[in-house]
Symmetry: C2
Subunit: 418 residues, 2 copies
């Protein structure tokens, strides 16, 4: 226990949550879907209260916080409508619980099935975005799990109202528990309790992920950084490459599947880079470039030499690293060294090179002639995501409903023994 | 790094192993199968050398070590033949690498496939059994991974000879590394290196598992304890129940899928328990019983009252806990409280009760009218196992070839952007 203890009342609450996990396992899809739709209605109906609480949180936020932080914390009618819509979408997805992954009859007559079952108690530790509450809850609930939610203290008033709406909608015993104690020691104590929590999902900055990884005794699903590359080959369609790279970098730079480092074959650098530069000028993209790219782009605004540290930096901002490489091998080596195993892309007309890139790059998602921005639960048809996993255990890429379950073995016999 | 550092030479060795992981990912099944068969031949051909080294290890073993420990360390011609046969069996299994788990074309025309890929570098920490070396290696190798092996110092001479045979057979660079430094700090230092190791698999006693769980920064697949129950219902075929319980407890009591606690419906206790007792008398089974069972079995040899601690004890020995329950609910509650989520069984002729038991018991494998001893990679048709997982992430139950891979996303586009 490392000296950190949970308050007895709080421990009882979690034990009740754990007991609730048992009944959740066999809840019908209809019942779960109806509750998710009710919650969507409640959110919209009570949006004025949610927004009032959110205004309170925003008023308390120090002016020194960056605009991006304030933006993540902010709700408005449109964002609440988005939260409700997302709940309805999860309600419309197939229920993974009970799905038969494999079935066979063994030589000894045993009938064996592998059937998907919920993970149990999921502990979600997240930072400021209040819409994570309903998103994470809906995925956990629909997949037959219960969830313990611990957000950032900045959003406490907003979270309290949302927890209250969830509690009213879902009845007793509620299949979730919102942690209202914002002391970090509480998280540390919970991370020791593998007897109470089956799995922890940290979602936030590197410091949070690192803390959870070092402290947790139960398995975690990590939503780690995305240091994504796109390699533009000498056999690339240059216009397609401009469109893909522009999209991957500029459309939404603050997310994990956005591009950070561009690798360009030396044969196309002088045609491709100026074209790309022209399309990114209006958005004020900053370029951190290697010496060869610098030759091509020299004298242009917002172009500066890249440092060694840059290749290893996830900017999540309108900054692009750019390096010219001799060939595919050099691109592969660069990605092997600096990639975060999230999403990587090649733009080329040569299928042989594309397949080699897809085979050899060890990432959750590897694209040929498409933007890395597609690594997303909705985009890939999972209907939503609890995050994007960059670990190799359990799930690589978006964590959807199915990924919140595991197959277990159900075996029917007629008295078989060994 | 917690102050523990790896020796520079050793760190270079592991970096070479990691580099080797890249080429292993695309190795053909034919090549891997040929090497596994060659290794089987080498083991048999060089068995005299292996046995001489093993005799050296056994001679060094303190006489105070329990017989079971000595037995696990011991090799003989028959066990070496078994190791070779197991290598041939793994060679005969389908290669999971490249298996397409799912494929679809999205509305935007993106062609999406989920393709199985190796985990990468597997760190296997195990105790005395030297046959784990070839078993774990073969599964890791066949599934496209590389493996770092660290056994117990008791088997160091045996391990050295086996590592040498593996090295000769597999050539350079070898897709494995045997750790010959038996200082526990080396394991601790390795468990911090998530940059070098993708996943750790501890296999051994509770102290080892606990140490790895508290120290490792990378994901682990835990081979934890099996505190398995069998519930004999009032609608059970009593003779079938005797056969199943006898097998689950007696056939090989030292393994994790063996029975520890028997739960019996009160209506059949007086007929079932004496019959079972009669079949277990010759093997000297010790009974730890609750007061009601004690009424039925009183005065018989080797029957003693169970303590509260007994219900929570994995004996791995010829000792059986026995408790009479009022009904299925009480059995379910007992298993919920004391079970280790490994293997649980119900014996009944009533399908409704069997299905309820299978639905509500949260274990990796749940049996109806069969022995818990079937929770095993070979028995369930996986061809082998690296262990049996009692965690809920990634895999529940036997860890076979497929479980040493994870699907990743391979996406083909024609210039799609978001």
């Amino acid at each position: 226990m490392s000296g950190k203890l949970l308050a007895p009342d709080f421990e009882s609450d979690i034990r009740r949550l754990r007991a609730c996990a048992r009944s959740q396992r066999s809840l019908s899809a209809d019942r779960k879907n109806a509750k998710l739709r009710e919650l969507a209605e409640a959110l919209v109906r009570e949006s004025a209260r949610v927004l009032a609480a959110n205004a309170e949180d925003l008023a308390r936020l120090p002016a020194t916080q960056p605009a991006a932080f304030r933006d993540r914390l902010t709700l408005n009618e449109q964002r609440i409508a988005g939260m409700a819509e997302s709940l309805r979408q999860v309600a419309a997805l197939p229920d993974p619980v009970g799905e038969i992954v494999e079935q066979k009859i063994l030589a000894n007559g045993l009938k064996v099935r592998r059937v998907r079952a919920p993970l149990g108690v999921i502990f979600m530790v997240f930072e400021s975005r209040p819409n994570v509450i309903t998103e994470a809850f809906s995925l956990a609930y629909k997949s037959g799990n219960v969830i313990l939610l611990r957000g950032g203290s900045e959003s406490r008033a907003t979270a309290d109202v949302i927890y209250e709406l969830m509690q009213k909608t879902l009845g007793e015993p509620p299949p979730f528990l919102g942690v209202r104690d914002y002391d970090r020691d509480v998280v540390a104590a919970l991370l020791q309790r593998k007897d109470l929590i089956d799995i922890t999902v940290p979602r936030g900055g590197e410091a949070l992920i690192d803390f959870v990884q070092r402290t947790a005794l139960m398995p975690i699903i990590k939503n780690d950084r995305g240091l994504c590359h796109t390699y533009v080959d000498d056999e690339a369609d240059v216009d397609m490459a401009v469109k893909i790279v522009h999209n991957a970098k500029v459309q939404r730079p603050g997310v994990c599947n956005a591009l950070e480092t561009l690798l360009v074959h030396e044969k196309v650098a002088s045609t491709f880079l100026p074209k790309l530069y022209a399309t990114t000028e209006s958005v004020g993209l900053q370029w951190h470039v290697d010496p060869v790219s610098n030759q091509v782009l020299k004298g242009l605004a917002r172009v500066q030499p890249a440092s060694e540290k840059d290749w290893d930096t996830e900017y999540l901002d309108l900054i692009l690293n750019c390096r010219v490489v001799k060939n595919l091998d050099e691109a592969l080596q660069h990605i092997e060294r600096y990639g975060s195993k999230h999403s990587e892309a090649i733009v080329t007309a040569n299928e042989t090179k594309a397949r080699r890139f897809q085979d050899e790059v060890d990432a959750a998602a590897v694209y040929w002639n498409a933007s890395t921005r597609f690594t997303d639960g909705f985009e890939l048809g999972l209907g939503g995501e609890l995050g994007v996993s960059t670990q190799k255990l359990h799930v690589r890429g978006p964590v959807g409903l199915r990924e919140l379950t595991t197959p277990r073995w159900i075996v029917d016999g007629r008295g078989q023994i060994r």
